[in-house]
């Protein structure tokens, strides 16, 4: 059987894509966990959060059943705190630095506690913020992803009227279109965007793409400032023979399909190879498996020691039954009748560290051949280079260059998030949005 949809029953899809980290079932469960927290002073978890959420404070607030207060504490630092509680790699951020790790005890379940109060706030639509009266300043934000929404929220709280231009039909960006479905549901993403907008003063124009429906000069002339948060979104090509064959797809569009269609509409192969070992590669591999692929093999050209994903993520892939081949680099895709049938990989060994500081792989001359009918490329993402170059903004291979507070080379134009840093966590983008808003407020003298 080749690439096809409807591999599973509705119940199987539902089970495979149900919440991977279930929330606390009730208040008591949250209280017991909250009361484990020792309320550190100048806590390491705060310093390890890119948005500097006052974690001990919000946990103490849960412990005293001041749930509204805890949600306010979280959202005040991170308006996407609900989504972040589901998608953040907390094992390398807040929970990774919890002092309990040094006592060789399980760290406080910070993400789960954060989820407890933020989900409640979003579900019950608590109006925790009010915006200052409009001051007549108008700002355009390009992109309704984490950076754009976070920037818009901070601006609107200060009385700035914000218009967001979003190329997709829904807001949320990476959260809505680029993350494994068992981490966040489309419903949650929609509710989260609506919660951000409930502040007022923020309007989103959907299906408006920069460079296609709108131009930067137009925005500059119509608004007092512009914030660009367009993310990344182009898959890095492998540049190997056979890459054009049917069955070779990139992870971004594969995940986009899963997030924007019913599960039974998404086609997946029977024997799938996933190239790469980053978070996106894991999301692609695990979801291919959960869509019903018989065999999923992840191929990575270095070793476990150099992989970009966290151990927790790798464990998800392993528990889902994905095979992993370390030290193998794709060399050629073979096909029959225009359809991919096999992936030829070079066996590698590790040499000296490269520019990234990781030991770079060197070909050994030996190859291995994987019989596959689908190949998902997750070998990195690239900025929208041609779009960015056309904006006459200073950039490096498409990554927009900024100073502190998102200041770009164009007066009144600010940028942040993945389009500046090349692709990091959602929580980094949220902080970039806050930084950009600070720059804009300063620029507008608000």
């Amino acid at each position: 059987m080749a690439i096809t949809n409807f591999r599973l029953t509705t119940d199987e899809y539902t089970e495979n894509f149900s919440d991977i980290h279930p929330p606390f079932e009730n208040l008591t469960a949250a209280l017991v966990e909250a009361n484990r927290c020792i309320f550190c002073y100048d806590a390491p978890c705060i310093k390890s959060c890119p948005t500097s959420i006052n974690v001990p404070k919000f946990i103490k607030q849960i412990a005293t059943e001041n749930i509204k207060g805890s949600a306010h504490t979280i959202f005040d630092s991170n308006i996407m705190g609900g989504g972040c509680s589901k998608v953040c790699p907390v094992e390398k951020l807040c929970e990774g630095s919890c002092v309990y790790n040094l006592m060789e005890e399980e760290p406080i379940q910070i993400a789960r506690l954060q989820r407890y109060s933020t989900e409640k706030a979003i579900r019950e639509k608590w109006p925790l913020f009010t915006r200052k009266p409009s001051n007549g300043k108008k700002v355009a934000v390009v992109g309704a992803g984490p950076a754009g929404l976070s920037c818009a929220h901070v601006l609107s709280r200060q009385g700035v009227d914000v218009t967001i231009y979003e190329k997709e039909a829904k807001g949320g960006g990476l959260m809505t279109y680029g993350i494994a479905a068992y981490k966040v549901t489309p419903e949650f993403c929609e509710d989260e965007v609506n919660y951000v907008l409930s502040l007022g003063g923020i309007e989103i124009n959907y299906n408006q793409e920069l460079g296609k429906n709108i131009t930067l000069p137009e925005l500059q002339s119509q608004y007092d400032a512009v914030y660009i948060g367009i993310g990344v979104g182009l898959a890095r090509q492998l540049e190997i023979p056979g890459e054009h064959l049917e069955g070779v797809e990139d992870a971004i569009s594969f995940i986009y399909d899963i997030r924007s269609k019913p599960f039974n509409q998404v086609k997946v192969g029977e024997n799938v190879a996933v190239i790469g070992m980053g978070m996106t590669a894991i999301d692609a591999a695990t979801q291919a498996k959960r869509l019903g692929a018989k065999q999923v093999t992840m191929v990575y050209r270095r070793t476990e020691a150099e992989m970009p994903c966290t151990q927790v993520e790798l464990d998800i892939a392993k528990l889902d039954g994905c095979n992993i081949i370390w030290l193998a680099a794709p060399k050629e895709v073979l096909g029959v009748d225009g359809k991919a049938t096999a992936l030829v990989c070079s066996k590698m060994i590790l040499g000296e560290p490269d520019a990234s500081g990781r030991r770079s792989p060197i070909e050994t001359g030996e190859t291995i051949v994987l019989e596959v009918d689908m190949i998902i490329k997750a070998a990195g993402q690239m900025p929208f280079e041609s779009l960015v170059s056309g904006l006459s903004l200073e950039n490096k291979y498409g990554k927009i260059t900024t100073d502190a507070h998102g200041v770009t080379s164009l007066n009144g134009v600010f940028a942040g998030g993945d389009c500046v840093n090349g692709g990091r966590e959602v929580v980094d983008a949220v902080q970039a949005g806050k930084d950009g808003a600070a720059g804009i407020l300063e620029f507008l003298s608000v």
Binding site: N35, F39, C40, D42, P44, C45, S48, S97
Partner: protein
């Protein structure tokens, strides 16, 4: 193994753990279950004038997710008919002759009522009597319970009436709802009581339901002061116990310790401060009678480890170390030390010292972990950092005497030494 059998005024029990006069001891079925579980004795729930209890009756204080740190009740003495209680006491005595059976009593404030009640109870063959001078709610309005315990003269009078007719040992149970338990304890001893027990419950309001705004326990929209007990009251009970153990006269009678005892360790602490045995209630109400298994075993192992062969080897052993403040050694000094290998950098020691004590800890910022060190010259040795540190043996208090000789506050004043020179 050590011998943990107890002899309290000739009342023998295989171990020093008795159940206090309370709901767990108000009928045969409970007491039989208690004895089957291993309890050494019981004080049968207070018998006296017929009463009617309300519903609801209990409330509790939780702390940091832990249930029932403090417990409160507005229950009165036994609401079961006296005759039934007397029959059941007799039946239990027959089934478990080796366990202590003490009966708590509270009569109207006249000689006849006390005499009549005591005669009936003594007829059952019970081993001892406990006079309830402590119940802080309901009965006080009628001049009974704590109303007696709060007035040494009345207490002495009642004890004298009791002793006129008592043929078995009499224990007088004291109320903590006084500035000191010593006056009533003293009056009771002078009135002839054979022993004391303490403490009864402390009058309290445990809390208010923030939805209904009605204090707990809610009896149809109203509440009343209740009697507080459970782990939260243990330090207060130990204080009252110590004052009885320190008094020249009250120290001469045996004391049964009561107040928040939940484990063998609590029991040992009460006994080290002068109690000959202990009575338990709240812990059993929270976990059932089975807790006594660990109490018996834990006490046994501890005594073996310490080389104590019988209970008398350690009863009262800590009393002499409780001193007056003015007799404490001013030249004794300790300084905190943080073991950097064990430190988890939580900063609790720092913020506690900085905000509320003597600013004796230095903070060196780091990401994500700060470093904390003691400023030895500033440290007054208060223990606060050590108390709040979440890691065992990370902060230790190291002895640095100010001088070799012992000097107390009285000597200090006599010598005219400078103040404000820590």
């Amino acid at each position: 193994m050590a011998d943990i059998s107890s002899n309290f005024l000739g009342i023998k029990s295989p171990n020093p753990f008795w159940l206090a006069s309370a709901p767990p001891t108000d009928k045969k079925i409970n007491v039989l279950r208690a004895f089957e579980a291993g309890w050494g004795g019981v004080v049968w729930k207070t018998l006296g004038t017929q009463v009617k209890n309300v519903s609801s009756r209990y409330s509790a204080v939780d702390y940091h997710g832990s249930r029932v740190m403090g417990f409160n009740n507005i229950e009165l003495i036994s609401d079961r008919p006296l005759d039934i209680n007397l029959i059941e006491i007799k039946e239990v005595l027959k089934e478990f002759p080796d366990r202590a059976m003490v009966v708590s009593l509270m009569a109207d404030n006249d000689r006849e009522s006390w005499h009549e009640l005591i005669k009936k109870v003594q007829d059952t063959g019970a081993h001892g009597l406990e006079l309830n001078f402590g119940c802080p709610h309901g009965m006080t309005e009628r001049g009974m319970g704590a109303a007696v315990g709060q007035d040494p003269e009345i207490a002495r009078m009642v004890v004298e009436w009791v002793m006129e007719i008592a043929t078995i040992p009499v224990i007088t149970k004291l109320t903590p709802n006084v500035h000191s338990v010593v006056p009533t304890g003293l009056a009771s001893v002078l009135g002839g009581t054979n022993a004391l027990s303490l403490i009864n419950t402390i009058q309290s309001v445990t809390g208010i339901d923030l939805d209904t705004l009605i204090p707990n326990p809610n009896v149809g929209g109203k509440s009343a002061f209740g009697g507080y007990c459970g782990p939260a009251v243990k330090p207060i009970a130990l204080k009252f116990l110590t004052t009885i153990a320190q008094n020249e006269i009250t120290r001469k009678v045996p004391v049964s310790g009561i107040g928040g005892i939940s484990t063998w360790k609590d029991a040992v602490e009460f006994m080290l401060l002068g109690a000959s045995n202990v009575q338990v209630c709240t812990a059993a109400m929270k976990h059932g009678f089975r807790i006594v298994e660990d109490m018996i075993e834990g006490l046994n192992y501890w005594m073996d480890d310490k080389g104590f062969k019988t209970l008398n080897d350690f009863i009262g052993k800590s009393v002499h170390t409780m001193s007056n403040w003015e007799d404490l050694d001013i030249n004794y000094h300790v300084i905190a030390n943080i073991n950097q290998d064990k430190c988890v950098h939580c900063g609790l020691c720092y913020i506690a010292c900085e905000d509320t004590s003597h600013q004796s800890i230095t903070l060196d910022y780091g990401k994500p972990y700060n470093k904390y060190t003691i400023k030895e010259e500033e440290c007054v040795g208060c223990n606060l950092c050590n108390l709040v540190c979440p890691v065992d043996d990370c902060i230790t208090m190291v002895e640095h005497r100010k001088a070799d000789e012992y000097m107390n506050w009285k000597d200090f004043q006599r010598l005219g030494l400078p103040l404000n020179d820590h």
